[in-house]
């Protein structure tokens, strides 16, 4: 663990420690570098937000951490330690004692993450039976408690219903109840609210937050919407093309953004106080090909600050302040960054050849 910094409780063993994790897929097109050297750390009771555009590797990262990816065609390096136990070398048999019991997960689409032909009650009591040995009435009573705790009215009746009889928000509450059933120490939520409408989004996020505090659970919220994690995460890691390009405690990240990509993400939130579900398409251009990224900064073709150096040298995460790291040669809000932007503005284009008109540049300068 060289790059990620603890948020507090120095010296304590972290709950989750990911070190230089790489996850590549061997495809006919070539090797897809979906996760390319990610390090991060989550402590008990803390929330880590992972933010990035579609295709930046968030889902692959979360499944790689959870040891859920199929073994064939997948190349995985680096380490994932959960309470000091190395997960990357663990067999499925061993993982099954951790899955559900200590690590749990919620997926993006509550419409598809519940079994359509199984009663909700049975889907909840299943893991109670596996990990806690609860059966029959005991398990049922526990399931009712769980449903109540995630705010589902008429919980007893719901046990006998099928997923299609519930709304999307209610289904996501059920998946949360399932995830929390055996009291996991870490919950990974992969875009838990993307498929839901705005008011329901907020309710689900609030629910996750209260449950996390009550249980002193580590929480990873993955999202493409910086607004989702803005007021909730203790730390935010911004992901681009399979790497973490900026990481900072939430307030620090918003106050002193260093990476031009993060700046772009920030601009795509209309108002910080409004619940936002704006897609991150606001940054012009498309994410790079993960098969053969080539040299230089992967964000350079879309970056207003891009200089010649950005096209040849890949920046690595470098510290800016306590717990704040960014991978950028010309960080936003530094003199180097200001000069780079000014040079590009004068030339009317960036070093990558992207035209730069002054209206974008002014907006950018304003945000910085």
């Amino acid at each position: 663990m060289t790059t990620a910094r603890p948020l507090d409780g120095r010296g304590n063993e972290p709950l989750l420690e990911v070190d230089d994790l790489r996850t590549y897929f061997d495809t006919p097109r070539g090797v897809v570098k979906a996760v390319d050297g990610v390090s991060l750390r989550v402590d008990r009771g803390k929330t880590l937000g992972i933010v990035g555009e579609s295709g930046s590797g968030k889902t692959v990262l979360s499944r790689s951490i959870m040891n859920l990816l199929p073994k064939n065609n997948t190349i995985r390096e680096g380490s994932v330690r959960f309470e000091g136990r190395e997960l990357t070398t663990m067999k499925n048999k061993e993982m099954r004692t951790i899955w559900g019991a200590e690590m749990a997960m919620i997926l993006q689409d509550p419409m598809t993450s519940l079994n359509p032909v199984t009663k909700i009650g049975d889907q909840i009591t299943e893991s109670l039976g596996i990990h806690l040995g609860e059966k029959g009435k005991v398990a049922k009573a526990h399931a009712v408690d769980l449903l109540k705790s995630v705010g589902i009215p008429a919980a007893e009746r719901r046990l006998g219903e099928y997923p299609h009889q519930l709304s999307g928000g209610m289904r996501q509450r059920v998946t949360i109840a399932i995830a929390l059933a055996c009291g996991p120490k870490l919950l990974v939520a992969d875009e838990p609210t993307t498929a839901l409408d705005v008011t329901v989004q907020r309710q689900i996020l609030d629910l996750l937050e209260t449950q996390q505090h009550e249980r002193n659970m580590g929480l990873i919220i993955i999202t493409h919407d910086l607004g989702v994690v803005a007021g909730r995460a203790d730390e935010i890691a911004v992901m681009y093309a399979g790497r973490i390009v900026e990481r900072a405690p939430t307030r620090e990240l918003f106050a002193r953004t260093r990476m031009p990509y993060t700046e772009g993400l920030l601009k795509s939130i209309p108002r910080l106080h409004q619940p936002s579900h704006t897609r991150l398409a606001a940054i012009p251009g498309r994410p790079p090909d993960l098969v053969d990224p080539g040299p230089g900064c992967p964000f350079a073709p879309r970056c207003n600050y891009a200089q010649d150096k950005c096209l040849t040298e890949t920046p690595v995460l470098a510290p800016h302040a306590a717990g704040h790291e960014a991978a950028c040669h010309f960080p936003v809000g530094t003199t180097a960054g200001q000069d780079a932007l000014a040079r590009n503005l004068a030339a009317g284009r960036t070093a990558a050849g992207t035209p730069l008109d002054s209206s974008t540049a002014i907006a950018t300068a304003g945000a910085a």
């Binding site: 959870m66 859920l68 064939n72 499925n92 099954r96 004692t97 951790i98 899955w99 559900g100 019991a101 690590m103 749990a104 997960m105 997926l107 993006q108 689409d109 598809t112 993450s113 519940l114 079994n115 359509p116 032909v117 199984t118 299943e126 893991s127 596996i130 990990h131 099928y162 299609h164 009889q165 519930l166 709304s167 209610m170 998946t175 399932i178």
Partner: protein, 319 residues
């Protein structure tokens, strides 16, 4: 109830089926009167008399109403050839065909479910490829070839099962099963291959679903995921096609019953067609068609049991 809601459409289908059966059998070439009289006695007068006697000169709608009215009371008329009541002939023969048909489906499912699941679970591996090419191979072999091979192996070489003949269940259950096994197996082979392919495809899709990932991440064992979580949602097309394939099994039983010399409905139909035994053909065809419709209706009901979304209606109130 779902069953009651589906009842009107069942009745409509049965009506259409009876009409079609009647029309198609009535339009078979060849004059039944000629067959009854034989070539030497077939004077034009005699033919006319027989035709009038059988009501063959009435307009088609009248003939249909007569026939279906009687059929509803269980009277399908008498065989032109043997004078045996058609209904009795059918009741005698139906259990044979039903037994080998059901046995064939059970054998096919018993093999196809585990094999299809294994194939999907190991998709892309050598096991999967072996299973896939074997099923394609089996699909390509016609059932009478399968039957001949089976007779060769089990009756001629090993001598463990009879090559032909039938023993009634009530006479000797063990011998009955032995006489049903090879015919059922001959019918089952192709079904097995179809079912395996279907289940494999659907199962691969199901195993990629989020709810399977959710089950894994709950700590559920692979075996339990396959049987408890993935099998039921993967079996919808299998069920449907198994129902539809009953048609293929009935069709196949014509060949297989003839080959194994079994006193079944398939052979009865074949013989009746060959001698233009019109009422027999109509009666057997109607019984077959009705069984087929009823089987598929039952599948439909089972389907709603397998998939709760159907019986509750997809637009059921969402709370």
């Amino acid at each position: 109830m779902y069953v009651l809601r589906r009842l009107p459409s069942l009745l409509a289908t049965l009506f259409a089926v009876s009409l079609l059966t009647f029309l198609m059998t009535s339009l078979l070439p060849g004059d039944p009167a000629l067959q009854i009289l034989g070539a030497e006695n077939a004077t034009p007068e005699a033919i006319a008399a027989v035709r009038a006697d059988l009501g063959l000169d009435d307009p088609l709608p009248v003939r249909y109403l007569h026939w279906i009215g009687d059929a509803l009371t269980g009277d399908f008329g008498r065989s032109y050839r043997t004078n045996e009541p058609v209904s009795e002939a059918i009741i005698d023969r139906l259990p044979v065909t039903a037994e080998i048909g059901i046995l064939a489906i059970i054998i096919a499912l018993l093999v196809a479910i585990p094999v299809g699941m294994l194939s999907a679970y190991r998709a892309g591996t050598r096991t999967d490829k072996l299973i896939s090419s074997t099923s394609f191979g089996l699909l390509a072999v016609p059932n009478f070839m399968v039957a001949i091979f089976l007779i060769l192996i089990f009756a001629v070489w090993l001598g463990v099962l009879p090559a032909t003949g039938w023993v009634n269940f009530t006479d000797n259950p063990v011998q009955n099963l032995r006489s049903a096994l090879l015919p059922a197996l001959s019918l089952a082979i192709a079904e097995m291959a179809v079912y395996t392919r279907l289940l494999r495809t659907d199962m691969i899709g199901t195993l990629q679903q989020d709810f399977v990932t959710m089950a894994r991440v709950k700590g559920v064992s692979n075996r339990r995921i396959l049987f408890r979580h993935a099998l039921r949602p993967s079996s919808f097309s299998l069920m449907t096609v198994a129902g539809v394939q009953v048609g293929a099994i009935i069709g196949g039983s014509v060949v297989i019953e003839t080959l194994f010399a079994l006193p079944g409905v398939g052979r009865l139909l074949l013989e009746a067609v060959l001698v233009r035994d019109l009422l027999m053909v109509q009666g057997v065809a109607l019984v077959i068609a009705v069984s087929y419709v009823v089987v598929n209706f039952t599948v439909d009901i089972l389907y709603s049991y397998l998939d709760p979304r159907i019986s509750h209606g997809r637009s059921a109130a969402r709370v």
